[in-house]
Amino acid sequence: MYKEIIKPTLVLIIISVLVGTLLAVTYNVAGIADLATAGLSQADLEELKPSVMPAASSLKNAKVSVEDGSLLGVYADEGGSGTAIHIVTKGYGGDLKILVGVDTNGAVTGAAVTESAETPNLGSKVGEPAFIEQFVGKSGALAVDKDGGEIAAVAGATISSRAFTDGINKALEIYEQVKGEL
């Protein structure tokens, strides 16, 4: 009885508990916890600021109550010139994460792609300034020229361009909900 049941169970329990607690210790001691939820680190924000919100002084992580599957983070500008909203949308090759700058009256100040799985030098062209500049100053629901909107899609990458535009609309939508709490 002992040999066949108790010993194996005991050994497996000891091993899993040891591994589990060691991991838990390293996780808490090394403070990985706060690293994980930070989303965009301060360094990333500084780097993206020029293309997202040139006028802003410095972007700080702001906690908001809005819960949305595609919302990754909200970063308010201390100078009060606007907010940057970090969203994820479904691109052609996979997730497409965009940081969108919105000024106080809800118009786009700029945007930057933080993570993309689009096909290299085709879908990924949506991240280039030439395409993004079309959104600056605009607000409300935007659409690609193929869908009757005024945004000129990147040649041959309609799906990526449509995904990027949906992302911008999503960010503007969230801004409306979040505006009160900033």
């Binding site: 066949e4 010993k7 194996p8 050994v11 497996l12 091993i15 591994v19 096909t119 290299p120 030098n121």
Partner: protein, 222 residues
């Protein structure tokens, strides 16, 4: 126990990727950039060496019924530990490897070496074997990663090789991965003038051969 041969056999003669064809999932997935190949190789080597050592230490205490789960928990523990280290020190590598970092646990090489080698040999041999296999894996990954990066995005370890070259998108796509891997193995066949490729893929190189009752029926898994 010739320790030197244990170490070197993993590098060329029994290279886990190019000869035994184990661990092909990460080999194809993360080698879009040579740097990713290096990162994945290093992480896998670390996990492989540590798990080999720990498993060869515990091999007499683990009863037969719970052998596989215990090995896997130890390996998964090391993989999670490595993912902590990467997440804090090399965030962009952590992003690049993505889900494949935690898939190292089911990497056929690690469980294979644990079952076939570590659970039968002493700590020193297991350590060397893990190191050899890990380095062999890393070399293969860097080789394939470099080829795909140069052809696919015109850079080598991030340094552009000049704008005269128009990068071919095919090579950084999944299909390119299969293609480059196939050509590299064909090259290995030629270089080793066909000695290596005679090794059947059957049960011999399967990580679970020792634990699986059907192992002697080689041809089923052929």
């Amino acid at each position: 126990m010739n320790y030197f041969r244990t170490f070197t056999k993993g590098l060329i003669k029994e290279n886990p990727v190019l000869v035994m064809l184990l661990g092909t999932c990460p080999t194809l997935a993360v080698t879009t950039l040579a740097m990713n190949g290096l990162g994945m190789g290093a992480a896998t080597t670390f996990v492989l060496v540590c798990s080999n050592v720990v498993i060869s230490l515990l091999k007499n205490f683990i009863p037969k019924q719970v052998r596989l789960p215990s090995f896997i928990v130890i390996i998964a523990g090391f993989v999670t530990f490595v993912s902590f280290m990467l997440r804090s020190n090399f965030p962009e590598l952590y992003e690049a490897l993505g889900v494949f970092l935690s898939l190292i646990t089911v990497n056929c090489i690690i469980l294979g070496r644990a079952e076939m080698f570590a659970s039968k040999n002493n700590v020193r041999a297991s350590f060397l074997d893990g190191l050899g296999m890990g380095l062999g894996f890393t070399l293969a990954l860097i080789l394939i990663g470099a080829i795909r990066e140069v052809l696919g995005s015109g850079t080598f370890f991030g340094l552009s090789i000049g704008d005269w070259f128009q990068p071919i998108g095919f090579f950084s796509s999944p299909a390119g991965g299969f293609f480059v891997f196939g050509c590299v193995i064909a090259l290995v066949n030629v270089l080793s003038n066909y000695k290596m490729s005679s090794k059947k893929i059957g049960c011999a190189s399967c990580p679970n051969a020792s634990a699986c009752g059907q192992a002697e029926k080689g041809e089923i898994a052929e």
